[in-house]
């Protein structure tokens, strides 16, 4: 009997055969950077998840909790990976009080399924994240991936109000509650956002929900250079116009977006001039607010000497917004070798964007920029081959991106790249000064280091 078969058999004795999978083909589907787990377990309750964690503790196994597995490429490869804890069988809505706008859901519920239930009551959860059609709620949260609605609704830390989870001692714990305002005890649940499952196994999450807007719209403004686009973006900021999203696209990003759009809406794609910088704004509200914002944006675009300005109706806005929401996904496959960074830099220095594109140019790579929600920069470095020269070029460019971020009081993470580049570049960049603090947090949640070891910042 192989070690894998042994593990599966022992797990079956804990949870029953129907909860454990160890077939070669399925195990490969759970691979992270080429590492394959020894077994997959699918608990159907929080208690069962806790039993698996206690089993892992006894057997000294490393556990990676998974949802739809759409973002397993985030972070470094795990140092050890024995068990995939597939949480998709926990998919109930435990509590939804539409009159209180609060919600409590199991970790594995798909966002799309949840959205349908909420929409029936005229509500939604502003987690508009990439791989939306498949993502689970806990996966979206643990990945830390940005929602396109974060400008208006904030990131998950602004509407996550509580959590239930299994800690690294195998105990079922909770933090926060189901009320929209609460300072009772430590806010441990906020730590799970972007933690890549390194602290605990999330079993349930509590959120405040929001009312669906009456309508929405979008506006596209096109500029022949970055200076014009930046001036327009600054004018929007000073105007105080309430926008759901505000995205800046470099010419290369426009070309990539157009090529994705072309598959579903060729006519729309033809309107995007890939030689230009584009700024896309989306906004929500009632029938009076939406046209007012469109008019104001058009006026600001004219004042900033935009080459072109297009007001999008709700359908076009949803279409373009949907394509841009998925940018993280399609950028991963935009060329044979990709290094996709997520960065935050001061908004007041548009020169930073030009500098980043220079990094690409000097490394003979294509560079595509998207500034999400006026705050987060997605920067893709694209190589046309997968060979050693391409790897070296990406490696050198990555070092420059990290130092550029540090010099600008910002930060950068290599969100996606190949396993080969990960063997040369730490995707988290240089260790930050607060790394020691993070180690303390990790150790208090997971003293035996069984949750996704090695995937996180600094090897946590």
């Amino acid at each position: 009997m192989t070690a894998t078969a042994n593990l599966a058999t022992r797990l079956e004795s804990v949870l029953g055969a129907h909860r454990v999978v160890a077939s070669e083909a399925e195990l490969c589907e759970y691979a992270i950077d080429g590492m394959v787990p020894g077994a997959i377990v699918r608990p159907t309750s929080a208690q069962e998840a806790a039993e698996v964690v206690r089993f892992a503790l006894t057997e000294k196994l490393a556990v990676v909790a998974t949802g739809s597995r759409s973002k397993l490429d985030l972070g470094m490869p795990p140092a050890r990976y024995d068990l995939a804890l597939d949480m998709t069988a926990l998919h109930d809505i435990a509590h939804f009080d539409p009159a209180d706008l609060t919600l409590s859901v199991d970790a594995g519920i798909p966002l799309r399924q949840l959205a349908k239930v909420l929409a029936e009551k005229g509500q939604f959860l502003p987690l508009a994240v990439p791989c939306y059609e498949t993502s689970t709620v806990a996966g979206a949260l643990a990945s830390g991936i940005d929602s396109t609605l974060r400008k208006q609704y904030g990131s998950a830390r602004d509407f996550l109000i509580g959590a239930e989870f299994v800690d690294g001692k195998g105990a079922l714990c909770k933090s926060g509650g189901r009320v929209v305002k609460n300072v009772t005890g430590y806010d441990l649940h906020k730590l799970f956002i972007g933690s890549l499952g390194t602290l605990a196994v999330i079993t349930r999450l509590n959120f405040r929900t929001f009312t669906l807007p009456q309508t929405h719209g979008g506006h596209l403004a096109c500029f022949s250079n970055l200076g014009g686009a930046s001036a327009y973006r600054d004018a929007i900021g000073k105007s105080g116009l309430p926008l759901a999203n505000l995205e800046t696209l470099s010419p290369e990003m426009v070309a990539l977006t157009a090529s994705v759009l072309r598959e579903t809406n060729a006519e729309f794609a033809a309107r995007l001039d890939p030689g230009k910088w584009w700024i896309y704004a989306s906004y929500e509200g009632n029938e009076a607010v939406v046209p007012r914002i469109a008019r104001d944006l058009q006026k600001l675009a004219n004042e900033a000497a935009a080459a072109n300005g297009v007001i999008l109706d709700a359908a076009s806005d949803a279409h373009l917004g949907g394509v841009l929401r998925e940018a993280f996904d399609w950028l991963r496959w935009a060329s044979p070798s990709v290094a996709l960074f997520r960065m935050a830099l001061p908004q007041s220095k548009p020169g930073d964007l030009a500098d980043l594109l220079c990094v690409a140019q000097e490394s003979a790579l294509r560079g595509a920029l998207l500034v999400r929600a006026a705050a987060i920069i997605y920067f893709a470095l694209l190589a046309e081959k997968e060979d050693e020269a391409a790897l070296r070029a990406l490696e050198n460019a990555a070092a420059q991106v990290f130092s550029h971020a540090a010099a600008g009081q910002g930060h950068a993470t290599l969100l996606h790249t190949s396993s080969k580049l990960k063997s040369r570049v730490n995707v988290w960049g240089p260790k930050r000064a607060d790394f020691g603090m993070m180690q303390r947090v990790k150790h208090s949640f997971d003293p035996q280091n069984i949750f996704a070891p090695g995937r996180f910042v600094g090897g946590i």
Binding site: T184, D187, A288, P447, V457
Partner: protein, 477 residues
């Protein structure tokens, strides 16, 4: 307290930055809560390095440390329950940087909340969290307690506006967490430290987000002849998905006291009022105001007034924010609770609070953040009468238990402190406490920082550092 500690502290900071006489220390033995505990020494640092040195000195003498802003807290969070050195941040009160282009301010912990807004309001920006005590409470205290305020209904509490912190750990180490522009890679340590009530580290610098003022604001005063009508109005505003910037409720008993004192224009003969503010673009604010007014009228509002101008709006808010001061005219002391409930349960919660008041023989006033279900029942009592004090505590505990039964929590914005720590098991299991204790010990292993707070004394963390009742001052003295 060792005389050598005082000597060393004096030499560290200069004697003008140290208090040690009983009459001076007495000023620091209380906050806005009903609790009391006296520090042995009070120190006023001017820099982060001062704080680090004080903490190291405290470690050398094995005495506890508690941080304090202006002492307006309502849960005993800034009281020296274990004695020791109280670090008062009043002299670390500089705004270090205003980065208007990136809408950030970097401030020392002793900066008064409202002073941040005053420094930037000419640019159309402001600092959104607005506790009622914002004219005197400090941002450091706001961070420790994760303070709220009326407008947090739309804009979130303190944690939603903090992006980076500088901290001093119990061993004197100075560390920075978070990032000016937000979303730094790694765990959200800012999210953990904000609201940790000074039990994990001392905060010595805070980077906050600044918010742009809305284009239009409409402030509505809805007047009701029945409390139930007012609470049903709030429940329906929430259920209809109308999100005001603020939605405050004041019952008739309380507003009469306010009116005597502030003359805000609240009708003395009403059973309750709602103070509702909507903000946004002109078109959005107008539509929301209409929708709010419609709900108010559906629930039998006697009158709905809209503030004509800023002066009228300011007066209404003055009435709301100075309410607690007004209540001081009615009784020698009051006990302000801070329970939170699901907003859909508001009508039944107010009825139950009234019943509990009757049971214990108190009139309980209500002035609170109705829009987010954050109740502030106020029990008026005479602390010189031990029986009244005991009854006030018993009534308060019963109200909090009821909030939890409804699916709520112990505290929405005031913190647990030493006031509600023994009620924590109503919400948390032994496993929850075990994890929270491990997190606590990861940063504050000897409980030298703010001992005796948050955790029930039976659940670890700091009990050995808490003075026995005979040593501490009884709360009703």
């Amino acid at each position: 307290m060792a005389a050598s500690l005082l000597r060393e502290l004096n030499s560290l900071l200069g004697s003008s930055n140290v208090l040690h006489k009983i009459e001076d220390l007495a000023l620091y033995e209380y906050d806005g809560s009903v609790e009391k505990a006296r520090p042995d020494l009070v120190a006023f640092p001017h820099t982060t390095e001062d704080v680090s040195r004080i903490v190291k000195l405290a470690a050398k003498y094995n005495v506890p440390i508690v941080g304090r802003g202006s002492g307006t807290g309502l849960s005993g969070g800034a009281l020296a329950r274990g004695g020791g050195i109280m670090i008062v941040f009043a002299r670390m009160n500089r705004i270090l940087e205003l980065d208007l282009e990136n809408a950030r301010a970097v401030v020392q912990p002793g900066v008064v909340n409202l002073d941040i807004t005053r420094a930037v309001e000419h640019t159309g920006l402001y600092f959104a969290p607005d506790p009622s005590s914002q004219k005197s409470c400090t941002i450091g205290g706001n961070v420790a307690e994760n303070a709220g305020g009326p407008h947090t209904l739309a804009y979130g509490v303190t944690v939603n506006h903090v992006t980076a912190l500088e901290l001093v750990l119990p061993d004197g180490e100075i560390v920075r967490v978070g990032s000016k522009h937000g979303d730094a890679p790694g765990y959200d340590l800012c999210g953990l430290f904000v609201g940790s009530e000074g039990t994990l580290a001392l905060v010595t610098e805070i980077t906050v987000k600044l918010t742009r003022k809305a284009e239009a604001v409409k402030t509505l005063l809805a007047i009701f002849d029945a409390v139930d009508d007012a609470s049903n109005t709030v429940a329906e505003i929430t259920a209809r998905g109308i999100t005001p910037a603020a939605c405050e409720m004041v019952d008739g008993w309380t507003l009469r006291a306010i009116e005597e004192y502030i003359h805000a224009g609240f009708p003395r003969d009403s059973a309750a009022i709602l103070l509702i503010e909507v903000e946004g673009l002109r078109e959005a604010a107008a539509a929301q105001a209409t929708a709010v007014e419609d709900v108010c009228r559906t629930h039998h509002a006697r009158e709905v007034r809209i503030a004509k101008d800023d002066a009228e709006r300011d007066l209404l808010w003055k009435g709301r924010k100075n309410a607690f001061g007004a209540l001081g005219r009615l009784a020698p002391s009051n006990y302000v609770l801070d329970g939170v409930i699901p907003r859909s349960k508001l009508p039944q919660a107010l009825q139950q609070i009234s019943q509990i008041g009757k049971k214990y023989g108190f009139s309980i006033g209500n002035i609170f953040h109705a829009g987010d279900g954050n109740l502030h029942p106020i029990v008026l009592y005479d602390p010189r009468d031990p029986r009244q004090f005991e009854n006030a505590i018993a009534a308060s505990r019963e109200i909090i238990r009821y909030c939890v039964e409804l699916g709520g929590a112990l505290t929405g914005e005031h913190g647990v402190g030493m006031e509600k720590n023994e009620l924590m098991p109503l919400l948390f299991s032994d496993a929850d406490f075990d994890l929270m204790r491990r997190v606590h010990d990861a940063f504050n292993p000897d409980s030298s920082l703010n001992p005796g707070k948050i955790f029930p004394l039976s659940k670890g963390c700091g009990e050995i550092r808490v003075r026995k009742m005979a040593e501490a001052l009884p709360a009703h003295v």
